[in-house]
Symmetry: C2
Subunit: 402 residues, 2 copies
């Protein structure tokens, strides 16, 4: 008894210090404290932003907004891109444009940033949580299929939740930390149930699945250019789609639904003021030019983490699923089950040593405002939450030039 009671803390202490040592080694060239994710700008961003200020064209009427849209559309390989103030408003507008109506349900993972569910609420709809898979960290197609078989029924050509009586309209898979979801399985499943596929690609700009970019798999997709994302506009977002009419409506709805006229102010529906200002777009134009460089640097950092953790026992770095090339937006350390109790001690130790690691988002079904929402069993989401830690992932930490 006495011996095993002492052995416990000793094993833990040894585990914690081996992790700290590995992270310290991976980040050896970085000054402390090391932030979770930081942007960096160069001469090009300075130049474009200054041009904006000098010409006075800082608001949404300026030409950088259109240029930024074109650059991102071409980088992703999607016909249309509509720039908005951030990823949350992009998702809100996309849901409205896809015909999600107040009282509908929208399927989302429980493991995602709260904005995914908030946008559903902003559209007056109800998030319906389905489990994630350790294969991708994203929505689990098998769990989704099983759950829909149990709770859904078709009526008048539409899918309903038998337990709540509400229509299930759409699914919003998230490519968590840049890792693509299981695209072919999800696409097949959504086709089978006739559900709309809206891609939350906020974390996965630059990620691909079998060579095709994230942001091109859903009927529409959204990006975020928040300060912590792979490229940033300060705050910003984008709606992507291949559907011409949808793109036109997206532009209209996000710019107060004003009818074009030389001087008159006529609007034909309740619109939003979601348009990205020109000064933010100018910053984005500079950033998108170096997207390939950023992705390469982030992948190099992920490789470095994997190398240093190869000889550490009790934890591993999450690897992109087969067929995918992830942007590794945030690197994730996964603790073995026996060490899941050590997560907070580890976070404290890392912070005490100037390393701003963080746990996963609290699974959304555990937050007070979403605790009564419909849901499938969520064992994997809860397991992930206890065992994952994100490590500092700024592209320049890899030591590559960028």
């Amino acid at each position: 008894m006495a011996i095993s009671a002492q052995a416990g803390p000793a094993v833990e202490a040894c585990f914690l210090s081996s992790i700290l040592e590995a992270v310290d080694l991976a980040l050896s060239s970085a000054k402390r404290p090391v932030a979770l994710h930081e942007p960096r700008f160069g001469a090009r961003e300075r130049e474009l932003v200054m041009d904006c200020v000098d010409t006075g064209w800082v608001s949404s009427a300026g030409r950088y907004v259109t240029l930024f849209e074109e650059m991102v559309a071409s980088a992703v390989g999607v016909p249309h891109a509509v720039a908005v103030v951030n990823g949350t408003t992009a998702l809100h507008a996309a849901l409205v444009l896809e015909g999600v109506r107040p009282g509908d349900e929208v399927i989302v993972p429980s493991i995602t940033f709260v904005a995914t569910a908030n946008a559903v609420s902003h559209a007056g709809a109800v998030p319906h949580f389905v489990d994630s898979t350790w294969m991708t960290m994203g929505l689990d197609p098998v769990a989704l299929d099983e759950h829909l078989q149990q709770v859904s029924e078709r009526r008048d050509g539409q899918l309903f939740n038998r337990q709540t009586g509400r229509r299930i309209r759409a699914v919003v898979p998230v490519h968590v930390f840049g890792h693509p979801v299981d695209v072919p399985q999800l696409q097949a499943l959504l086709a089978k149930y006739d559900l709309i596929f809206i891609e939350d690609a906020t974390e996965s700009l630059g990620s691909t699945w079998k060579g095709q970019a994230c942001g091109t798999f859903g009927h529409s997709a959204v990006l975020s250019f928040n300060g912590n994302k792979i490229i940033t506009t300060g705050g910003g977002g984008m709606i992507l789609t291949a559907d011409d009419q949808y793109a036109r409506r997206a532009r209209h709805l996000t710019t107060t639904a004003k009818i074009a006229h030389q001087w008159a102010f006529e609007h034909d529906e309740v619109g939003y003021n979601y348009r990205l200002p020109n000064i933010n777009a100018a910053l984005g134009c500079g950033q998108v030019e170096r997207l390939p460089e950023m992705v390469a640097a982030k992948r190099a950092l992920a490789t470095r983490y994997m190398q240093v953790f190869e000889n550490v026992s009790g934890a591993r770095i999450f690897r992109e699923p087969g067929g995918a090339a992830s942007n590794y937006w945030l690197n994730t350390l996964v603790l073995d089950r026996e060490f899941s109790d050590e997560r907070d001690a580890l976070l404290s130790m890392l912070h005490a040593n100037g390393i701003q690691a963080r746990p996963l988002w609290t699974p959304l079904h555990l937050l007070p405002m979403y605790s009564d929402c419909p849901r499938a069993p969520l064992p994997v989401a809860e397991d992930m939450f206890t065992r994952c830690i994100n490590l500092p992932s700024s592209p320049f930490l890899s030591g590559e030039r960028n």
Copy 2:
């Protein structure tokens, strides 16, 4: 018959060319085309924005957001200011924070930019239109009182619309084109009916009534820093209030309702991502420093317009109401009733001569999505729409240094 049929067009042509001549005279020093309203930036804005880009602090976590809030709060003379992405989202958040709930009614003027009513819709509530007065161009307290006497009743300490059965929760007066509404009468009326006063001060930063600033009269107020406003952040807005608890809730609700923690992601209500990015706030810090100068320049331009129009018959420049000092955000030419049919011919002629004048916003009750909303008689709103034209009003047009 033949003579008067010829005299008509001749009088019209003479009227139109006398207006053009006067506007041309007022704007004699400006290059054509003359925009309706343009921003201008100086060395200070360059410096602050570059500091943002150089330090990498472009997103909402940066220090310029707080600094901008403090500068605006002090310029207006209000205890709290919460910066958000624009005036529309500021108004939406303010309505939610004031307890406006889906299905409530909110009284707004029909003569305002569509965003005032849109924000009410975004909160799930219904705009209820009340007439404006030629005294201020804003909400008419007399018409409001008469209308509420006719349609409202108190039940359980709350005000209801007897015709629709819905609760009337708040009133959003707008200081149109910078001219303060009739503050004491409206305040007395709202107290009598126990309605919440939310000030749409998006157009009136720098305007005062008896020396007190617009933005300090309601329980809360909102500003806009859109590119066409008196000072700009590209796109931006602010919520103002003297209520400590309301300010804390405003900050929480507009930043995803995240609970402060060193690393955990917990949120306790459905929040919004409405926070202003730091790069936009940096621009704002530079702009707010010259607010007094901007107001002076805009008042000088208004005086110039009044002078040149003194000798023109058939139209006059709208003057600030007694007791008020307006920022004259947009100068308004009011045509005499006999010339109201000439509005569009006048707009065409001004545009053809490089002067980007515009009519009033189409009264909101005439837009398709608001045509079925509850409303009082709106004769003045419709009269204003036929007879008002906004003239170019950029501060630097006055020729004053700025």
